[in-house]
Symmetry: C2
Subunit: 248 residues, 2 copies
DNA sequence: GTCAATAGTTTGTCTAGACATAAGTACCTA
DNA sequence: TAGGTACTTATGTCTAGACAAACTATTGAC
């Protein structure tokens, strides 16, 4: 394997508000993704690199750390730093189905079957961490992709976070609305399972009875740990699968 | 909300090989998880804290950064650092079914149905990034939990990475063996779907024909981007679901 | 020739500061 | 009362260096 060592030259704008370490990290990332820094390329050592770029070592190190975290570089003490695989960059994990479909050009469409403010079942109230009997948004939607029904979605959202109306929900996706309302979704725990469709589900989704469905239960928290949303969805397994990337 | 500010005292062992920043991070994590540092608690500012613990600010900062990354603390410039969520710590994401079951006390057991070295189907060779016709380990296993069949697993592993034998596979789980062979699994991309069981699958898994199954296709890469393993598994949906935590 | 000690290279950890910037608060003025 | 200005506070960024530890390669001894 050719372990070429390339002298790096990166322009740095000290008058920019963008932190220096980030300028370097971004430019390195760009070059790796563009193939200008081939897989296997060994970077110069940190001391040399820092001097060449006119930065202190901690600052340069921070750039490299950023890219190591994202899986674009590996470091080994006593050995050096090396480019690995533009292969799988960590995807934007906390995305919504609507956003995913939009990006994939699948022309999502949403039919709002129900939008009410009422007390949810106790199990949902527990998941939402509100007192039983508290009224929340109860939302039932049917999501289409390319005019084919894809998923039946039940969502529960505290009324304190955002104002929902049917019109906007039809065109925007719940997560977009939440973000627009200033909610920063930070972490989600979800459970993915499978079961056969009930007659009612089959009818709504255009499947036959007993067809396999993917089920997803999700609780989303914001950056200070408040519950933002609880969702309980079923997807047609014939038309949808979850893709995810795990890192260690 | 009571924003109590607690003076922290953490013992630090400078003779330990464990880095100082990590000693602090671990102890903080422990206290948050144990509830000794309640949600909403505000930490003292970094200057004071560093001095109290006898550390430099960068070192202390590094501890805090670590916990911010893991979602246990939030920082706001000009405001301070605050405890959030003992709730969901990022799980060890790249774990194997065997490890998960062990941890949960589910007494996993593995029956090796087939262990061969042969050329896999082309689609698998492509996923493994080896030339078609290259011989690899082909592995078919039945995983039990509490003596109930749970999953039927097909795996493909390059012969260059590890030496596999039936005896060890029955007692250890593939990932343990890989790790023991010095393979560092770094990132995995997987697809989770569902379908109904075929007659053969139903028989092996002790389900009835047409029972819903969860399917998982996974490709695992090591720290330098080599393909370590390709797996194609089916799980009894009646007895298993994927739990995962997503962060943004 | 084989194995162990050693020297050199490179990343990992840590220190002690400096200045910048965002968020909140108090005050002052229109 | 409303609005903006100045001040305070705390995190964000950056510097210049020191020593430690892991890995590689070479050298030397048996």
């Amino acid at each position: 394997m050719p372990v070429t060592e390339t002298p790096l030259s990166i322009p740095i704008d000290r008058s920019s508000p963008v932190p220096l370490y980030f300028q370097v990290a971004q430019e390195l990332e760009r070059r790796i993704m563009a193939g200008e820094l081939a897989v296997g390329t060994k970077l110069e050592n940190e001391l040399v690199l820092a001097e060449r770029l006119g930065l202190s070592r901690p600052t340069l190190r921070r750039s490299i750390e950023y890219l190591v975290d994202r899986g674009l570089l590996v470091r080994k003490r006593g050995v050096g730093t090396q480019v690995v695989m533009p292969r799988v960059r960590r995807p934007l994990e906390l995305s919504s189905l609507y956003d995913d479909l939009s990006r994939a050009g699948e022309q999502p469409r949403t039919e709002v079957l129900r939008l009410a403010v009422e007390a949810p079942p106790d199990a949902i109230a527990t998941a939402l961490e509100v007192d039983p009997g508290t009224e929340v948004y109860v939302l039932e939607r049917l999501r289409y992709a390319r005019d084919e029904p894809l998923a039946l979605m039940h969502n529960y959202v505290p009324t304190t976070l955002v104002a929902l109306d049917e019109e906007r929900l039809a065109h925007q996706g719940l997560y977009q609305l939440l973000r627009a309302a200033g909610v920063t979704m930070k972490i989600a725990s979800q459970t993915i399972g499978a079961r056969n469709a009930t007659a009612a589900e089959a009818r709504v989704l255009g499947e036959s009875r007993g067809a396999p469905l993917l089920t997803m239960e999700r609780t989303v928290y914001d950056d200070v740990g408040r519950v933002v949303e609880v969702g309980s969805h079923v997807y047609r397994a014939s038309r949808y699968a979850f893709e995810l990337t795990l890192t260690d």
